[in-house]
């Protein structure tokens, strides 16, 4: 469990999302929730379950499989002053929304010179493991980070999930809210009352002096496990969670990297033109001191389903720790932590199938 606070109860990521949604819908009549399956018995893995009973089918409703038009509907409703939350059970489906997101949601406030704003939230879940495969596993946040006018957040724990969703709903801009399936049943201390987590403020999750490791979305969890393995070898890693990717708190990361002299960015995505590339470039542009920088992410391939290949596709605590070790001790022999000891909580808990 990684908790930014010790206030509140221990709550799972999925329940934190549900709680934020309910609180915001109670607070503001203009907030509504829609997307395929948000009102069914499973309620997006539980993150929307029961909301239709409390708020009714005008405010919580499923949609036809028309992602393009439904995104336009969200934009139009937002222009009329409502606050839609549009849910996609896999981020891959956002590809059907790109015209609306990029040409309209992102641009309308600017293109129409402030006559309208587009306060909408797009929740998009990334899948992983148990054969999610090529089109149920993609972290596509980098595509959206490229476009001025969109905010992109990727909370890695239950506390940030609740606070960021609240902030996103109250924000007057389109916010892409990146979730990860494997984070859903992780837990953290979460205050019961409503609260916001500010965008553009990175969180230093572990302090250290030898290397700065940045982990995006669920890679933060993997980085934390790697940090523990490194600590046993006497290497002190500072671990930073950017929390929001746009706006990005590059200053916190730069200050840390300038101090440790080593920066490893681990993204839950491909590295090419990705968030990791942006973070490294942003740090390099802002620092005068010599810096060793490396990136890790998906293998430069499509995600395969068979576990043998899929395991190889993702960074994991072992590969992250090995990379960091080699950066800190470039002349030492290669070090290979025990894979059994590198296992994460979800790997012990999750049995599949989805």
């Amino acid at each position: 469990m990684s908790s930014p606070t010790e206030n509140g109860r221990v709550v799972t990521y999925v329940d934190a999302l549900l709680e934020a949604m309910g609180q915001e819908m109670r607070r503001d009549e203009d907030v509504f929730l829609f997307g395929l399956d948000v009102d069914d018995h499973k309620g997006i893995q539980g993150s929307t379950v029961g909301l239709v009973d409390e708020f009714g089918p005008d405010r919580v409703f499923t949609t036809p499989l028309s992602e393009d038009a439904m995104t336009g509907v969200a934009i139009g409703a937002a222009m009329a002053g409502m606050r839609p939350v549009h849910v996609h059970i896999r981020m891959d489906f956002l590809m059907l929304c790109m015209n609306q997101l990029i040409n309209m949601a992102a641009k309308s406030h600017y293109m129409y010179d402030g006559q309208v704003s587009v306060p909408m939230v797009v929740r998009a879940m990334i899948g992983k493991s148990w054969g999610q495969g090529a089109q149920h596993s993609q972290g596509l946040h980098s595509l959206l980070m490229h476009i001025p006018g969109l905010k992109v957040v990727a909370p890695s724990n239950a506390y940030d999930a609740k606070g960021c969703l609240t902030t996103a709903i109250r924000d007057n801009n389109p916010v892409i809210f990146v979730e990860h399936r494997l984070l859903y049943f992780t837990d953290a201390y979460v205050p019961e009352e409503s609260y916001t987590v500010p965008f553009g403020q990175a969180r230093t999750v572990r302090q250290g002096g030898d290397i700065t490791i940045v982990g995006v979305s669920n890679m933060l969890v993997e980085c934390l496990r790697a940090q523990e393995l490194l600590e046993e070898e006497g290497i002190s890693a500072e671990v930073i969670d950017p929390v929001s990717l746009v706006p990005l708190d590059i200053d916190t990361i730069t200050a840390s990297a300038a101090r440790t002299g080593r920066l490893l960015v681990v993204d839950n995505a491909w590295t090419n033109c990705g968030a990791s590339a942006e973070i490294v470039a942003g740090v390099v542009e802002r620092t005068e001191v010599p810096l060793m920088a490396r990136r890790m992410g998906y293998a430069p391939t499509t995600c395969p389903t068979t576990p043998v290949l899929e395991d190889e596709f993702y960074p994991n605590p072992v590969t992250i720790a090995e990379k960091a070790y080699a950066m800190v001790r470039p002349r030492a022999d290669a070090w290979h932590p025990d894979p059994e000891r590198a296992k994460l909580a979800y790997q012990a808990q999750f049995r599949g199938p989805f």
Partner: protein, 321 residues
């Protein structure tokens, strides 16, 4: 400024005034265009005015219209600010979007003209979203979404029809079928020309106007809107019309060979602007014409005299506060 929402008085005079304002505004744009003062590609509606004018005459001021990149006509007919439109074409700070939108993205929320888009079909679901908000708030306003024949080929158009019918949204779909997508005729794009039949399968009532007679469009819209306002769900109109000028720009392009001069002649012979003007007595027509010219001249003057936006404006409104 013209006022099409005071649906009192002589309908012919009212419709003519609006038709003439749209026609003359665009002719003036075409005249100015070679001077390079207008720094924005223009897609003129000359020849198609009856569609926007007929529909907008049936609307209330608080009803909403949503258009396309060819939306000078719907913007003007709905009562959009003419000064702000000309200033926008000139790229001036006083433009309807401060010079950031140009001709293809006109907007005037004060007069309930939603922003238009350069990407075909894109604004159709956005109009639905606005209508969804209206319905949720139990208002009796309606939204008109104007789009061309090309937009009906986009998947999002069919997604939108289905959703509007499913949710019984207060939307009037208006297809301005000018028969060409850039230079491509319907015959090269549509398996059949029975667009109304396609729409009816969603249980949306339809009507087709083969000559875009302005009174027929206006009267049908008036009745259809009554039903939509009362909660009867969406309605669809196909208005067949003809773009006299080239797809983009001020000129004619009949020498390019993709359409015939004789087609233009057929449509010119049934020009609604001329027909309604001829139906008025000479004094009335002359008075309206003079008013229209003054209004356009004032808008051009306003645009010419207005300043360009300050450089800092580049960075304003990237994100909303």
């Amino acid at each position: 400024m013209t006022n099409n929402f005071d649906n009192e008085g002589d309908m012919t005079a009212r419709l003519y005034r609006s038709l003439q304002l749209v026609r003359r505004a665009e002719e003036v744009i075409a005249d100015i265009y070679p001077s390079d003062k207008i720094k924005s590609p223009v897609h003129l509606s000359i020849g198609q005015e009856a569609v926007a004018v007929g529909i907008c005459d049936a609307l209330r001021a608080d009803d909403v219209v949503s258009g396309t990149y060819r939306s000078h006509a719907s913007y003007i007919a709905k009562g959009g600010d003419l000064n702000a439109m000309f200033a926008e074409l000139y790229g001036k700070a006083t433009g309807c979007a401060g010079g950031k939108a140009g001709s293809m993205h006109l907007i005037d929320m004060g007069n309930n003209v939603m922003g238009s888009s350069a990407v075909v079909g894109t604004t159709v679901p956005i109009a639905l979203g606005y209508a969804l908000a209206i319905k949720r708030r139990q208002e009796d306003r309606i939204v008109v979404t104007f789009f061309g024949d090309g937009a009906t080929e986009e998947g999002v158009f069919h997604e939108s029809l289905n959703f509007a019918a499913l949710k019984q949204l207060p939307v009037l779909f208006v297809c301005e079928n000018n028969q060409y997508a850039i230079h491509q005729p319907l015959a090269k794009r549509w398996a059949t020309d029975r667009i109304c039949e396609r729409v009816e399968t969603y249980d949306i009532p339809t009507a087709r106007f083969p000559d875009s007679n302005v009174e027929s469009i206006r009267n049908h819209a008036h009745d259809a809107i009554k039903g939509i306002r009362a909660g009867g769900g969406p309605s669809f109109m196909e208005c067949v019309t003809y773009r006299w000028r080239e797809h983009v720009g001020p000129g004619e392009d009949y020498d390019a060979g993709y359409r015939r001069q004789s087609d233009l002649k057929n449509w010119r012979d049934k020009d609604e602007v001329a027909r309604l003007g001829n139906a008025l007595d000479d004094g009335m027509r002359a008075r309206i014409d003079a008013e229209v010219e003054l209004e356009i001249a004032a808008a051009v003057d306003f645009a010419e005299q207005s300043p360009f936006p300050p450089i800092e404006e580049l960075h304003s409104h990237v994100v909303a506060d």
